[in-house]
Symmetry: C2
Subunit: 210 residues, 2 copies
């Protein structure tokens, strides 16, 4: 069984939990509070020298980092991970866009405005840039979604999961989503799937609820 | 035949030229000078709404963006793109690391210090952060390369090409590489391949030289 090192309110960690929920794959969850330095202990750095969550133990002692690489691993061979060469490239294109253009801005705004006490003051100089670049990313997504229901392969894939994680909390960190109706419709389509789970879902609280 | 929209001194564009050189695949190259706004003309934005190079026309009218996604496409089915599920995930892990942790810092330092006149003054507030984060990325790579010859699948792959592009110019933008002997040895291994080409190589000047 996989062991996932994850933080409840991390969008990057949520991607992996959401993918595993879609796949119906059981996993053990270890909560890591990065705000308390738990991703920078010697023990954790030994598992992942980058000091980040999520981190997946794919087999005993074998670790995989980087949320979007983990999605390709766990969804490999399923319809969530496109196998066709051009569909795979399209999904990858949007997943690299997510890590390069969306997460560093909307993800950063979410982290500092919602998770870190006093974050707004600490990051005052960076916020304008995050808002501007975040809106630019949302504009690129809006344009694509005006003509497509999903991001790649004409169906729901891990590219949608990767982009959903921070886009669905953009309104919580001051992005005005009114200008992005196609993005909002896509967020609703993703959330309407019966296998969808919320950001704070874990297999632990799911088991407790049953 | 592929058409590649590329900038000669862009590390992200170099990745694609280097991969195509390794594969021996012919392509047409269109030079785009982003410093002159050529990636933000209406015509170019119609091809790539993100306004970035590299951009690959994979077939007439069908475009693929994001350098690392392009590498997976052009190298798909060759030994440069690992096919095994865990090897593929390892290669992807390092390629997402490159776009999220290395390129935004060493790539940014390279761009503003080497390509933009007066860039140092314009980005004075950001440089310390780029240096610190760039060193952190180099440290993670050093640790991996102390025990491995390449980044994934025990062989030279597109993960190495992705990481090589900006790492090989880090010394040109003030990173002191003395603390990273394993990284330097890896850079030399990559450059020693008979199919290796330099950053300013293009199939056009190659043809002219013959």
């Amino acid at each position: 069984m996989y062991t996932l090192y994850s933080m409840r309110r991390s969008g990057n960690s949520y991607k992996v939990r959401l993918t595993l929920a879609h796949l119906g794959v059981a996993f053990r969850l270890v909560e890591i509070d990065i705000l308390r330095g738990e991703s920078h202990t010697p023990d954790f750095l030994n598992k992942n020298p980058s000091g980040q969550v999520p981190l997946l133990e794919v087999m005993p002692g074998r670790y995989l980092a980087e949320s979007n690489a983990i999605l390709w691993y766990v969804a490999g061979g399923t319809p969530l991970a496109p196998d066709d060469r051009i569909d795979r490239a399209d999904a990858l294109q949007w997943m690299f866009f997510e890590q390069h253009t969306l997460e560093p801005h909307i993800g950063a705004a979410y982290f500092w405005l919602n998770l870190v006490k006093g974050g707004r003051e600490l990051q005052r100089h960076a916020l304008d840039d995050w808002m501007e670049e975040g809106y630019r990313a949302l504009g690129v997504m809006e344009k694509h979604l005006q003509r497509n229901r999903f991001f790649a392969a004409d169906r729901f894939t891990i590219a949608d999961i990767a982009l959903y994680a921070y886009t669905h909390v953009a309104h919580e960190c001051e992005y005005d989503m009114n200008a992005f109706p196609a993005v909002r419709a896509w967020l609703a389509r993703v959330a309407a799937d019966p296998r969808h789970v919320l950001m704070d879902w874990s297999p632990n609280n799911s088991a407790a609820a049953e």
